[in-house]
Symmetry: C2
Subunit: 341 residues, 2 copies
């Protein structure tokens, strides 16, 4: 089977965005703040929003299962306070859960957290617990910069983040390290901020001994690892300068890269440089780059084509498509096995 | 000949750092502020610092000429006010100029600017003028984030920067877009901040029409363009979403990438994806990654080896080594031709 570990609910019914805009308007004006119960989206609407979009493309591309989380650019943790983010996270996570119930053979949820800037990460734990225990979430998305481009939280290696790591380890779930929209005019959200965050997160891990404290903690770095595989020699060299172990020993039991790289040469580099066991299939469709590549005639985000064309044997491809995901997301593996019974 | 367009004076005599530390101490304590004239470095010291380091490696690697600028991580524009940065830039630029006089066949200078955060870029112009007219500088280094990792200047496409662009166009000199040290604990200087800045600068250009306003303005994006070539499909797709022309038409008359990518797969990708006319040979030795790659037995930053091993014919290699640099740096070309006379 083929598992896409990186899908967001980018096609949610319009009512979600309308409600969110009312919520944002209510930040400065409590009288206008809508209640969560005012958002009503029926199952038919959810079904249609998926059927016509992700499900259609998954069928076309031969993908079986998507790890599905709230739209990344809409998380916007920097807006409002903890209560605002908490309500918003609960709504978005519930929608992804409902999608997973409507399409149980094709979607399994991953959670966003109410990462309001400056609050203690321990406050995010109840949402995580609910999503795992009640909604069957198999992973979380962790935003390393809840400020949206101002980068004023401590690095991921700081003890600040440990309450979340402790829960992740307890539940044996990985985190995809994924920022949200940039409110810094220097950074284009999907063209700069996302990729910068991927590179930044990797380097924060490299310079630290985080995985000595949490040997089973697992991070998935999306968008093919940002700049990391392209500069793998630089990172190997920096690790050496910093007297760290070889990257494969220092980080590769804990860090994994997805395949959201939207052209063949990029995927070829990824497959050449990064051990196959650290590559997880993903497309992030329908996301930042929705068009058709005029050079190929296919969608930029149809990443399966690149994996099929890369120099990989069937066994390696199987690991990228399925086996690695089952290993890195044990709750996904358990859910799949439960279905087979 | 082989021209390395990216060298910094990372091996300056210790007296420079000692003086700088006194200057930094003097920021809060004017009585301790040293005068520029208190820094004394003799020609013999300069000669030795180059002969034993850059010149030795250039000979070993068969490199003929280096475009030589002050140490990037020491620019630290965020420290002190304009007067502090102005004095520091003048000192560093003078040293690179003196190196170019001591080794006229092998070094030609590029200038740092006194980019104190928040000041009008017009205030940087006199240093640029002096460096071009009196010191024979052939390029500048332009820091897109003088804050050192807080990214609170306008994007490079903003009119804020136009006074510098106007002078660059008048003098027909390119800018290497190069940040300095990061004072933001989220960003490791050479492992995250440098690469992020490269990606960020490219995307700032992509989303704008800067090169319509300045058709002859030229930016060199170092470190192989950050994440850009690895994600070339993403950037092509984003340009398409934004209704911009094809990247080759939109940006590649004005943006060039250096070869500071420290492993063979990275250089192979660069050469596969980016048109040869947009690739300029560089090593940034002796810089961020000074060690020997245990996988090859050669220095990580010995980038000539990667170019030699890449799928390029001799004519393409000639463009990367020499012809492109002469085209992008016309004052370098003129200086080389003047020597030949």
């Amino acid at each position: 089977m083929i598992i896409d570990i990186h899908g967001h609910y980018t096609t949610a019914p319009k009512a979600l965005e309308v409600w969110r805009n009312r919520q944002i308007a209510g930040i400065g004006n409590p009288a206008q703040m809508p209640r969560a119960s005012e958002l009503r989206i029926g199952d038919d609407e959810l079904r249609e929003s998926i059927e016509a979009n992700q499900m259609r493309l998954m069928r076309e591309r031969g993908l079986d299962m998507t790890v599905f989380s709230p739209r990344a650019s809409f998380m916007a943790h920097h807006l409002g306070d903890f209560q605002v983010s908490s309500t918003w996270a609960a709504i978005c996570n519930e929608l992804c859960y409902r999608v997973s119930r409507l399409f149980p053979d094709h979607f399994i949820p991953a959670a966003m957290l109410p990462q309001s800037p400056g609050v203690d990460p321990a406050t995010w734990v109840p949402e995580l617990v609910k999503c795992v225990n009640e909604y069957g979430n198999v992973a979380i998305n962790l935003n390393p910069d809840p400020s949206g481009g101002h980068w004023n939280s401590p690095p991921l290696s700081d003890r600040h983040w440990y309450p979340i790591y402790e829960k992740m380890v307890e539940y044996d779930i990985p985190a995809m390290i994924h920022v949200s929209t940039s409110c810094n005019p220097c950074f284009h959200t999907t063209g700069a901020h996302y990729l910068n965050a991927d590179t930044t997160a990797f380097m924060q891990c490299l310079t630290s001994d985080l995985f000595s404290d949490f040997p089973t903690l697992r991070f998935v770095i999306p968008h093919g690892g940002g700049a990391v595989p392209y500069h793998w020699g630089r990172f190997r060299g920096l690790a050496q300068e910093l007297k760290k172990p070889l990257l494969k020993d220092h980080l590769l039991d804990n860090i994994f890269f997805d395949t959201c790289v939207y052209h063949q040469p990029g995927i070829d580099l990824l497959a050449r440089v990064i051990p196959v066991d650290n590559i997880l299939f993903a497309s992030e469709m329908i996301g930042a780059v929705r068009g058709i590549d005029p050079e190929t005639g296919h969608y930029f985000d149809d990443t399966r084509r690149y994996i099929e064309a890369a120099h990989l044997d069937p066994e390696q491809r199987h690991r990228i498509y399925e086996a690695n995901a089952r290993r890195v997301y044990p709750r996904l593996d358990a859910a799949l096995k439960a279905k087979d019974r």
